[in-house]
Symmetry: D2
Subunit: 291 residues, 4 copies
């Protein structure tokens, strides 16, 4: 069967948790930022895997230390900027056999209550994925944990029926989903422009979902991607991951009650899952954006 | 060692999930309510346990059906009203050996986006626990999953030191907690008064936490309870369950960096847990409020 | 409404994780023990709660340190012995206002593969709860996460039917549950006797569940408790917490298929929950066993 | 920026839970199989996404129904056979625009106690991923949730040190990991041969991990893959996903205690993650094995 060889490989540190409190001694107004960082490195790691030679192996403990030290030196700021700084450090300032780094970041929102106190808010998670190969950097921004519920106007009918199809057709059902979306930028932004871009993208997703009248969840997915690209010219591509949050109507007929889409039973599993990509035809190639 | 006897026992249905969509055909403005209901029944159940006699055993499947049917007949409204209705049904309209019912309810918040669409918000869970013995009903309202973060002014020093104490003293640390609070009402309210009471209580907790300067988490707990009772005369008792959300400062000295409470590492476990009760001396006895 | 007073309270450290590797240099055969420890202290803590006076407040960080230091000094051994040692330390060797301690312990099993390597096994969690008031110690042992499935012979019929009852009667269904049981000892044991007692109790539960033919889950619960007491004379009381693992049969009639209890759909929620206590009439009083 | 187009997309049903009880009336000896099935379909779905045309869209509800109906018609048997049967059904017997199907399956083990009763065992999850494009089928088998702990002989030293490296070198540490492995078959097997192949592969992984003396976790990963291929000639490729289960030693020096790798603190996050592929040079191309 031929020789055995060592193929693709990568390694890193998963889920470095970090809260940064910025103190403004003068105003007494503190800031709070709560993020989770994951590093992944690729390169030539035959040494440790094949030969027990660790000379060029940077411990993942050092990845973690870099997260905290860079946050102290430079602050965090926008996820994308912090991710790029960390990626550059890992590729340029550490072991020579590291060819590229990917940094995945999540931001967990807190709402300000007063000058120094905050309350956790969990309705969305902002994400960023930065990839850097020593020369080029690619940026993908995203949102996770965005649950939306449309109580009217969703249709699903005229679908294909096989011998195992029992689903009734409907012209007015509820439809809810838990959106994870990622969008690829054509160019790197800087500082507050990342935030503005994120907020515009998020608002586009929410607005599209909450106003569309659809005949399938697939149609919603496509519309979310298309309208996001239409409203944000600097984006090249959108990837959507949309598990259904199913809410079938309870059967109340045994109790002499009708149930016109009013009493619904949330079901965790199984659930439908729609995934799709919408992109510009002439956009720059993705390179290592999605690794 | 004496005869073997059957002691305390109870049974019920855990975590009936229910979403109610109310349709206002005229305005086109729908409502959305998302709750989880758990039933617990106590009474004389020697029949099924000891004698294989199920004549007076109401299946938990029927508890669940009642949740959905009552929601269709009467709507949900305030958690406490719905819990009381369900408790009365279970005690009065079902098996004669049921002596009392406890209903625990949680409400999961969604924010309105437009007339028919909603977005999930996860910063707090409103709870209610209703107990009914056929004659008297007791109501306990609560909040869960309320995470608060105070970035300044929390002290912890001058504490007891034993041979295993290494914790440094501090006069200005961050302090975060995940509050679960429950408060006992002296009287039953009705309808929107439940909501107003809940919001007043929640706001008192947030306001107290976010403005206090404390020398221990215990002092915060007591203040939360005391000020809630002071601001809400109709409450008899408050119970607080407060796990710390620990955020120790990262040690950056190996990198030549100081860290004045700025770069913090959230730690899940182990965590400190403070629990305590604050109550009025002459309040009505709790009866079965806490079962 | 009367003065506001401070009522019951307690505090402690939740979920101290600890793995102990014992090295036998001579034989080269190492041991592995994996436990989780939670401490709870009660006493007079008015100082920190009411007066900002921490003089007698032992930080929970010191609870945690004691867990690790005592494990190094004395090993772990049986959960009950380790819990008792920790409880005595906390009550006698630390702050004078501590009146009693409760230690809850869980043991996570690993199976030996060879002299030094182990594989995690997750079919049960052994637990112990030790309470100590400075004079008397109470011991409760238990099991958690024990999932059992009986594929034949379980009946449920002739139950009470109310207007919301639609559950069909059955004389031969599958029945599965996830057992959490705790049993109170009349006397403290020592060393390996704890392990022998645990294994006998666990085996009694498994044997009873797997051989009983029942007419309700309640009947199973009672039999589990009764037979455990019958087989273990040194136990005074058993408490059982038994959520159903529901497995309704899939409805295959739309596809022209029958389904005689063969194709089942596991349902997470909602689920029925049975709780009950079986005890000896003349057993010693529980004291603070259950706090 | 060019036209907006619709790119890669797929959809399916996630986590169909299924327990099959086989009844042998004659012997009274029942069987129990507990699996989770996820379907993913790809093909030409422009209709529903772009044009609101569902004519060729098979509802995910029908995927789920097929899982249950096929299990009733044919039993489950080995995961790979069941997955292949389901994949063929979805590609050949349903909508014409479906080009390929991927079925991911997990098996949750139960241990037999007697002829009809079982106890859940959770030390491993067997997995299979079957891909079918209407002509060719690819099979990948795997294991998940396999936690292994080596208490001796693991080394990690002589690694690369950057300015943020503080990790001490060690020549004898504990090393634990939670293995997820997947291996690609060169040919389809049938029936019990799948089970034999799985058990041989699993045993190879356990044996390699438990006997190797390594200088890095990377070296362990490579050895696991290489030895699995060496011992199983019918496998073409192995992919390994190995998060560390970190167990740093507790610092007991403040208490005058040493700690020679004995008292360890399990840490959930952050954790190192190693991923790698080992394959035969001349093995058949993977085709759609990994989609």
């Amino acid at each position: 069967m031929g020789d055995i060889v060592f193929g693709d490989n990568q390694y890193g540190k998963v889920a470095c948790r970090l809260v940064r409190v910025s103190h403004d001694g003068q105003s007494g107004r503190n800031g709070l930022q709560d993020i989770t960082v994951t590093t992944t490195l690729a390169g030539d790691f035959d040494g440790p895997h094949l030969h027990g030679d660790n000379r060029h192996l940077l411990p993942t403990d050092s990845h973690k230390n870099a997260v905290y030290a860079l946050a102290r030196r430079h602050g965090i700021g926008q996820l994308e900027d912090f991710g790029l700084r960390l990626a550059r450090h890992l590729v340029h300032d550490t072991a020579p056999t590291i060819r590229r780094a990917r940094i995945h970041l999540q931001e967990h929102p807190w709402q300000r209550v007063n000058a120094t106190a905050f309350r956790r808010y969990s309705g969305e998670t902002r994400t960023a994925t930065i990839t850097y190969d020593g020369t080029t950097a690619w940026a993908v921004t995203g949102i996770d944990d965005l649950a939306l519920f449309q109580t009217a106007g969703s249709q699903f009918h005229s679908f294909f029926k096989d011998r195992y199809t029992t689903l009734p057709e409907t012209t007015d059902r509820s439809y809810a989903t838990l959106i994870r979306a990622q969008w690829r930028h054509t160019d790197l932004l800087e500082g507050e422009a990342w935030r503005a871009s994120y907020e515009q993208s998020r608002d586009s997703l929410i607005d599209t979902f909450c106003t569309i009248r659809s005949t399938s969840t697939q149609q919603v997915l496509h519309a979310l991607g298309r309208r996001l690209l239409e409203s944000c010219p600097s984006l090249a591509e959108v990837r959507l991951h949309m598990p259904n949050l199913h809410h079938p109507a309870a059967d109340l007929t045994p109790f002499g009650l009708d149930n016109p889409g009013e009493i619904l039973i949330p079901i965790d599993r199984p659930h439908g899952l729609m995934e799709g990509t919408v992109l510009r035809e002439n956009a720059p190639a993705p390179g290592l954006s999605w690794w």
